[in-house]
């Protein structure tokens, strides 16, 4: 992320940009999340992974949108999330979790579930959450710099 201040004048030679720096493909890429979710209580796996969305993170849990009939309240899930960043880094996070809350979403047939993590690697969880907290910080920094306040 570009810093807020610059002591260089824009016209100085070492500020000149090559065409590849002007437009980079990674600028158009988002963090890509791929999911594997299995219901260990019913011994079923979610097939339609494209319909899984991660919306909110809690201290030791998350809120997800999943296809309907994935689970019920109280069920245990096995979750694997892989996050691929635009700079080609990949962070994987695996955990078992319990479904604390479930709300059907009638307009799509999906379900909103809140899960708490049971067995997971703390460092892996921190690394996973850091992807988003770092990106949020960088975005705030960029917005402030771009707007000037």
């Amino acid at each position: 992320m570009p810093k807020n201040t610059s002591k260089k004048k824009p016209s100085e030679k070492n500020d000149e940009l090559s065409a590849e720096e002007v437009i980079t493909l990674s600028a158009f890429e988002s963090v890509k999340l791929t999911f594997e979710v299995g219901n260990t209580t019913t011994r079923t796996a979610v097939q339609d992974r494209e319909r899984i969305h991660l919306v909110e993170l809690q201290e030791r849990g998350m809120t997800l949108e999943v296809p309907g009939r994935t689970c019920s309240q109280g069920h245990n899930l096995m979750i694997k999330i892989e996050a691929a960043t635009p700079d080609k880094k990949t962070v994987s996070f695996n955990a078992t979790a319990r479904v604390d809350d479930l709300e059907p979403l009638p307009d799509t047939g999906d379900e909103r579930i809140t899960i708490s993590l049971l067995q997971f690697d703390e460092t892996g969880w921190k690394d996973f959450c850091k992807i988003f907290s770092s990106r949020q910080e960088a975005i705030q920094h960029f917005l402030t710099a771009a707007r000037g306040y």
Partner: protein
């Protein structure tokens, strides 16, 4: 100014939000519910909140409710949530206490930059934590309700500028610069004031100063770019537009400016590099495609002039592929090749015209132009006349006919053709005169019969 005390800030938030209508637009029911829950924990009543799952529904509710707070996903089906901001600005021009916040899974730099260009109040990514969402909402409200002195003075200056009180505005903007450690916005408005009073160099100086404080200040970058373009300083403008495109990549309009300036500053190798990147971008609109094709053709012409024929053909091939059957592009390529007597190569590009365009004027005119290089004069004249009789009027057809008829000594025919051509295409007079001149080079012999 409100102290950074959470309770004081919460009070300000509650006072602000008390009577406000809030629209949450997100195709994910989970996201809508999660955001609404956070707002409720911050003291908002559910009755104040309207939830919509699509862009179309969001538009309808915007018109109906005219909400003061809009929280939208960047990606709303095929539409961009940012477009709602334009709509709300049109509905609520005063906008003073309105908030527009994006909450989205789109974490790309291009989306963030586009949001920054549009001056959104905040950009929050999913997955969010309740804590971050609350903090960012609070921050946005505090900024609205109690902006720092720096921004208040700038607002005052803007009002003064709007009333034509230029001297007062300059004083305000100069004063604002003492109120912030990196007063790029103050510098920008000073630059704007000087642009308005036509003190162009002073304006550029102010924008540059703003960029010294903050090299990605969007308004200063745009201000400087426009200032340099108005002064026709294209090399410097190209430098600035490259920086703009680097930090704010998503704007197709800007990409076309980059290309145009690359051509104007003869940075032909850059054009080829941009082309490689453009082929990988999904967000390509008609205008961008048009400019990419035009830039490749201009580059190709440059290489023809430099005697790098095969290089030129490569670029023309790329233009033809990008054009995907757009006949105007193929036409330009053919004419460029014919200018350098490359009729065989021109014919290859004629074959790239889609079958359904073979009865169109572009194809027929180019066919005639190529024929003109390889066929006997009489055949060319006959074909040209046939096309005009079938009501196909094109400057190229007239140019070919004028030249060949003049060479054949058909004085009356040439006169009639010139009249007709100038009636149909008065802006092409120079080309028609050139065609006539080409038929009568200084050392030419006596006219022959057709």
């Amino acid at each position: 100014m409100i102290k950074p005390d959470p309770r004081a800030q919460q009070k300000v938030f509650e006072a602000y939000i008390a009577d406000k209508k809030i629209l949450i637009a997100d195709s994910s029911g989970t996201a809508r519910a999660s955001i609404a829950n956070v707002l409720v924990t911050m003291g908002v009543k559910m009755s104040q909140i309207t939830l919509v799952n699509s862009y179309v529904n969001a538009e309808a509710e915007l018109d109906r409710l005219v909400p003061s707070v809009v929280i939208a996903d960047y990606d709303l089906g095929r539409r961009c949530g940012l477009d709602l901001l334009q709509r709300i600005r049109a509905l609520k021009p005063t906008l003073k206490n309105s908030l527009f916040i994006l909450v989205t899974g789109n974490t790309s730099q291009s989306a963030v930059a586009k949001a920054a260009e549009e001056d959104v109040d905040n950009y929050i990514i999913k997955p969010f934590t309740a804590g971050i969402l609350k903090a960012q909402l609070l921050k946005a409200v505090i900024m609205k309700m109690d902006p720092p002195e720096y921004l208040k003075v700038i607002e005052r200056g803007k009002l003064e500028l709007g009333k034509g009180q230029t001297e007062l505005a300059i004083k305000s903007f100069e004063y604002s610069k003492t109120l912030d450690s990196a007063p790029s916005l103050g510098c920008f408005y000073l630059g704007q004031t000087h642009d308005i009073t036509k003190a162009m160099e002073n304006a550029a100086g102010n924008y540059s100063k703003g960029l010294e404080y903050n090299k990605i200040h969007y308004k200063c970058l745009v201000g400087l770019f426009e200032n340099l373009m108005n002064r026709k300083l294209h090399v410097e403008a190209y430098d600035v537009i490259k920086k703009l495109s680097q930090y704010f990549p998503a704007n197709p309009q800007r990409m076309t400016s980059v290309l145009r300036l690359a051509i104007m500053t003869r940075s032909y190798e850059d054009v080829e590099r941009y082309y490689r990147i453009f082929t990988s971008i999904d967000e390509r609109n008609e205008e961008m495609i048009k400019y990419v094709c035009a830039a490749l053709v201009v580059c190709g012409k440059y290489y023809l002039q430099q005697n790098f024929g095969s290089r030129a053909i490569e670029l023309f091939q790329k233009a033809a592929i990008t054009a995907s059957g757009r006949t105007r592009v193929l036409r330009e390529i053919i004419l460029a090749l014919l200018e350098f007597d490359m009729a065989k190569e021109a014919d290859e590009f004629l074959r790239k015209f889609p079958a359904e365009s073979h009865k169109g004027v572009d194809y027929l005119a180019m066919n005639l132009a190529i024929m003109d290089h390889s066929s006997p004069r009489s055949l060319t004249i006959e074909k040209g006349r046939e096309l005009l009789a079938q009501n196909f009027h094109d400057p190229v057809i007239y140019r070919v006919l004028i030249k060949r008829s003049a060479q054949a000594g058909l004085g009356h025919a040439v006169e009639d053709l010139m009249k007709q051509a100038l009636l149909k295409f008065p802006d092409q007079k120079i080309q028609f005169d050139k065609a006539l001149a080409a038929a009568n080079p200084p050392q030419s012999s006596a006219p022959r019969k057709a």
